[in-house]
């Protein structure tokens, strides 16, 4: 009997199937009162990309959190990554986040066995692992929930003066194709940017050539949201027709 049922995870996943996160980044200002003091990027030959963020409470140095953000090529790949991670715990079974907190998080989420000092969740193609690493154990749920909000929120375009520019955003390929290439070019002269893609149906898939959209049924929209490291965003939406 499997302890973790990845098929039931897929069945319960709704919102995350229609989102794709590209090159997510934290600059440290996201968590008020906390300072980002180290960032480690783990290189890999695969499409998976892992970035480890180390944050410390500016007021209390004994409080620190490590946040691992793992980008995967699809939401299914993210859930497979999450499965590997939860199975790599020595405890027989981790409690679901909802059982520990009575709140929901991500598409699938678990906590450690005591307190909320350790959280793992997947949302769309992203897996996040949070750990308290300071001398004082702290609840990391608030960081997890804030990150999940960043993944799922669809902000309006900000002040154009500080916002990134979306030069190109289009679908390439036959509308009848099973897969259409998503072409995009975004520029921010000063800041690094990260991207969110939302679709009203279908799903996204990354391969070595870039990002594709696998259509679902009917007409709909695809939206690109670009956010720079100062938090300013631009967005653009295109209509899809079958």
């Amino acid at each position: 009997m499997a302890t973790y049922d990845i098929d039931s995870w897929a069945n319960q996943t709704k919102e995350g199937k229609n989102i794709f996160i590209w090159d997510f980044l934290l600059n440290g200002s996201e968590f008020s009162g906390w300072k980002l003091y180290d960032v480690q990027v783990e290189t890999s030959d695969s499409l998976q990309k892992k970035v480890e963020y180390y944050c410390q409470n500016s007021e209390n140095k004994a409080e620190a959190v490590k946040i691992d953000v793992i980008q995967n090529p699809s939401w299914q790949a993210a859930q497979k990554t999450l499965l590997d991670l939860v199975k790599d715990h020595m405890a027989k079974e981790l409690p679901p986040f909802s059982a520990s907190t009575k709140r929901s998080l991500g598409d699938v989420a678990y906590t450690g066995t005591t307190g909320i000092h350790h959280v793992l969740f997947s949302r769309a193609n992203i897996v996040v692992v949070l750990n308290t690493i300071g001398d004082k154990d702290i609840d990391v749920a608030k960081f997890a929930e804030q990150l999940d909000g960043m993944f799922t929120s669809k902000p309006e375009s900000s002040n154009a003066k500080f916002s990134p520019d979306i030069y190109v955003f289009e679908l390439v390929g036959n509308k009848s194709d099973q897969r259409q290439r998503v072409r995009f070019e975004v520029v921010d002269p000063v800041q690094n940017v990260w991207l969110k893609f939302f679709c009203t149906h279908g799903q996204f898939l990354q391969d070595s050539d870039g990002l594709s959209w696998l259509p679902g049924n009917g007409d709909g929209q695809i939206t690109l949201v670009v956010t720079n490291s100062r938090g300013f965003s631009s967005s653009k939406t295109i209509n899809t027709m079958r």
């Binding site: 302890t3 783990e42 180390y54 410390q56 620190a64 490590k66 991670l85 199975k87 790599d88 715990h89 020595m90 405890a91 027989k92 079974e93 981790l94 450690g112 066995t113 005591t114 307190g115 000092h117 350790h118 750990n131 308290t132 690493i133 300071g134 001398d135 154990d137």
Partner: protein
């Protein structure tokens, strides 16, 4: 005429470790360049780091290379050597000299430089400069001291042929060197490939050689390292009960950089570790000084435990009070990682008495212990109850054996 030593090369034979020093680096990002000692730059022993493997150099003549400079820009020759200033007091005269010579021999054997002294040889100068000249080391004694971190100080001296007749030496500079003595050449994942970031890190050798101080065999060294790592709890690390036994330093690679940060008083990746972390730390530090251990798993889905004492805990429990068992366990393992092979477990103590299933418990850290089966009292029957859900479900998983890359 003033002569100065300008540079010393210890690792002067690329690809060799039988008669010279090993290839090393400071850490993942910082290399150590050759010459390891440079006049004007290397002032403290920490500025001149070198490492030698006991087994590979055993019985061989160890050599170094050194280069010199003179204020006399003519072409000439002098004899140059380096002595241990601690064990070479000024020479006495009279009948007491022989007695002091004898006492000095004993003193050198006990307290002298592990690298011994530098044998005198003639050095030619052209326009006040010498080439790199090869010197032999006299009476190195690290084959007797065993693994460790040692300091060597040399008083460099020179004399001309005329001064030779008067038995008079002139002092040049003193040089100081920090010497890491390893059992053998490091084994995988560490290597001896020039430029690799898997070359032995001196920041890791600092701990590995200290933990295994005095060891002369692989088993002795691995045992000392396992004990030292278990004893890091609870002050520096402890078992990850709150997180459910998650890997914090060994997920994919061994984040040695963060672990070293933790050891030196920083946060690193936090205080919590699991069995994979401990297995990886034990085997990586042991292999760094020449042991040959794997990280390998047992179990597969879930197996029940006897009472154990996890790292950092003083309580006997079946893991974290109520777990009852582990979904898997991982240890440092010898050979093919089968049930016939020995393990080193830096993560937990088992009950070492004749009945590990019941109290009272006698703490025993498993070192060089055969993994075993469910009929003989070895590691497996100390870790798990002799039941189908315990010992019967805790099989060696040699297909999982791995040596995580060091980052």
């Amino acid at each position: 005429m003033a002569i100065r030593i300008k540079a010393i090369k210890f690792n002067h034979l690329p690809g060799s470790m039988n008669t010279d020093a090993l290839e090393i680096r400071k850490n993942k990002l910082t290399a150590i360049s050759v010459p390891e000692w440079v006049d004007g730059i290397s002032t403290l022993a920490q500025d001149s780091l070198v490492a030698y493997a006991m087994r590979e150099t055993q019985g061989n003549t160890i050599t170094i290379q050194a280069r010199f400079e003179s204020t006399d820009t003519s072409n000439f020759s002098v004899t140059i050597r380096a002595i241990d200033p601690v064990t070479n007091p000024p020479e006495p005269h009279g009948c007491i000299a022989w007695l002091l010579w004898f006492l000095r021999k004993i003193f050198i054997a006990l307290f002298g430089n592990v690298l011994g002294e530098v044998k005198a040889r003639t050095v030619n100068f052209v326009n006040g400069q010498s080439n790199y000249e090869t010197f032999e080391l006299l009476h190195p004694r690290f084959w007797n001291t065993g693994v460790g971190v040692y300091f060597t100080e040399w008083q460099w001296q020179h004399r001309t042929r005329k001064e030779h007749a008067r038995k008079k030496w002139f002092n040049m500079q003193r040089t100081n060197h920090k010497v890491y003595i390893l059992l053998e050449a490091p084994t995988s994942p560490w290597n001896q490939v020039a430029g690799s970031n898997q070359l032995p890190w001196t920041e890791a050798l600092e701990y590995g050689c200290t933990w295994a101080k005095g060891a002369k065999t692989r088993d002795e060294a691995a045992t000392k390292i396992t004990e030292s790592i278990y004893n890091l709890g609870p002050s520096r690390i402890e078992y990850d009960c709150p997180g459910g036994g998650s890997s914090h330093y060994s997920a994919g690679s061994f984040n040695c950089t963060k672990f070293l940060e933790r050891l030196s008083g920083g946060l690193g990746n936090g205080k919590y570790v699991n069995c994979s972390d401990c297995a990886t730390i034990v085997s990586s530090f042991a292999n760094l000084i020449g042991c040959d251990l794997w990280q390998s798993r047992m179990g597969g889905f879930y197996f029940q435990l006897n009472n154990i004492r996890g790292i950092g805990s003083s309580v006997w429990t079946t893991a974290c009070n109520n777990w009852g068992g582990f979904s898997y366990h991982e240890v440092a393992w010898k050979g093919n990682c089968t049930e016939q092979d020995q393990i080193f477990d830096g993560c937990l103590q088992v009950d070492g008495d004749s009945d590990p299933m019941t109290a009272p418990h006698t703490p025993l850290l498993p070192t060089n212990m055969v993994f075993g089966d469910c009929t003989t009292m070895n590691y497996r029957l100390r870790l798990t109850p002799n039941t189908p859900a315990g010992c019967g479900s805790c099989n060696a998983q040699p297909s999982t054996r791995v040596r995580r890359v060091i980052i």
